[in-house]
């Protein structure tokens, strides 16, 4: 029930935004994420953006995961 998926904001109109994921467009409320900008990814939960995804942190985590995978490689 706490499912939330990352969707990309394509346009903003007041506290609503048009978002897109895998070609599907959806209008969502950005009342909880007034800082969201066009091009941002937000976590969409039951029609509301509950948070803006931090892309720098996302890359950081992936880098960390790649490091771990290569370090624990069995030679």
């Amino acid at each position: 029930m706490c499912l939330a998926i990352p969707v990309k904001i394509v346009s903003i109109d007041g506290d609503e935004a048009e978002t897109e994921i895998a070609g599907v467009r959806r209008r969502v409320s950005i009342a909880f994420t007034p800082e969201a900008r066009v091009g941002d990814y937000v976590l969409l939960h039951t029609g509301y953006a509950i948070g803006v995804i931090d892309e720098a942190e996302a890359e950081e985590t992936l880098k960390l995961l790649e490091e771990i995978a290569s370090l624990s490689e069995v030679h």
Partner: protein, 367 residues
């Protein structure tokens, strides 16, 4: 899809699983609080990927599953009132109450509608001014702000026929209740990712401080969960329990202040009745007096017969992590997703439904 596919990479997952195995020497027990995590853990065979030293338990993090039978009976009773439209999230509709279900009411002619969002429920109220539109408000902190927003919207737009039955629940207080009971001893908790988007990491701090239990907030893709397990194992091996965020792209330590403000504007904290756990103080959200005109509990009264639990169903134990679905005699035999006996088989996040769908012995199907 961006921010999803990258976190499902099987090579990285295997690397991470190897690291967990290298690190782990102590036998430990972890609980994933959230039903979304339970679903993903079974779906991706994560229990088979982690070393034998790491035991994983499912927790109570499925709002549908923890709704008490008495509360469900109240929701069902509301459907019988004249001129009402009941609106609810989809999962609730099939959960058996003591004597009926929302679905049965609907089949018998009651106006029960599934909505995707509270926004839709308010729209239904606008479009049906002669009817009372009641939203069955279930959910944790992830969902509560959206329910608060619907009440604020109804107030702003002077929609006087919109009501909420607030059954919203809070996660840190029920974690405390679980830790206080001696039934389940835990070394670490995988904290819910999307609840934490709202509340941040601070509300869990009492857990390592008072109970010495490690806490890591994790996302929902397989790599997110493995990263969470890795950090938990590290904390436990070093005997340094704390609260860490392994879902940094989504969760900030301070959470979402705006969403919390709206939630606090509309709700005050009260007790809540949890299936399998009972009344937990300060674990529920009640509508403040200021907004009582929208409170279904105040606006409507229904008479209820004493609640009855489904016979033989062990959902209560499953929710507390005191039993696995496999220990329920009805599992797969009498109780299936097509004909569920208890809520843990209805919701796709319920442990019973996840065990049914993905089994427990198959090797990582998708990784």
């Amino acid at each position: 899809m961006k921010f999803i596919d990258e976190y499902q990479d099987s090579k990285l997952a295997k690397g991470l699983a190897r690291k967990v195995a290298q690190r782990s020497t102590k036998t430990i027990r972890l609980m994933e609080f959230c039903g979304g995590h339970t679903h993903a853990i079974l779906r991706y065979g994560i229990r088979q990927l982690v070393p034998k030293t790491v035991e994983m338990k499912s927790g109570p993090g499925c709002p549908v599953c923890v709704t008490a039978t008495a509360d469900l009976d109240k929701a069902i009773a509301l459907t019988h009132l004249p001129d009402v439209i009941i609106t609810t999230f989809g999962d609730m509709i099939r959960v058996p109450g003591s004597y009926s279900s929302l679905q049965r009411s609907k089949a018998e002619g009651a106006d029960v509608r599934i909505v995707y969002s509270t926004i839709d429920a308010v729209e239904i109220a606008k479009a049906n001014p002669r009817k009372s539109v009641i939203f069955i408000g279930i959910g944790f902190e992830t969902t509560a702000p959206t329910i608060a927003a619907s009440i604020l919207k109804a107030q702003q737009e002077k929609i006087e026929n919109f009501y909420v039955l607030s059954l919203n629940k809070l996660t840190p207080p029920v974690m405390k209740a679980l830790l206080d009971s001696d039934k389940v001893k835990l070394d670490g908790i995988i904290c819910p990712g999307h609840v934490s988007v709202i509340i941040g990491s601070h509300p869990y701090e009492f857990i390592p401080r008072d109970y010495g239990v490690a806490c890591v907030i994790s996302g929902f893709e397989p790599l997110d969960i493995l990263l969470g397990i890795d950090k938990l194992v590290e904390q436990i091996e070093k005997c340094e329990p704390k609260v860490e965020i392994a879902y940094r792209r989504g969760v900030k330590p301070e959470g979402n202040t705006k969403a919390r403000q709206l939630m606090e504007e509309v709700f005050e904290i009260g007790e809540a009745n949890w299936r399998g756990i009972g009344i937990v103080p300060e674990s529920g959200l009640k509508i403040r007096r200021k907004y009582e005109q929208f409170d279904a509990d105040k606006a409507f009264s229904v008479t209820l017969k004493p609640p009855r639990e489904p016979k033989g169903c062990r959902c209560g134990d499953v929710i507390r992590g005191a039993a696995t679905p496999l220990e329920c005699q009805l599992f797969k035999k009498v109780c299936t997703p097509e004909s569920p006996v208890g809520p843990c088989m209805v919701s796709s996040e319920g442990a019973c439904a996840a065990y049914y769908q993905y089994g427990t012995t198959e090797n990582s199907p998708d990784l």
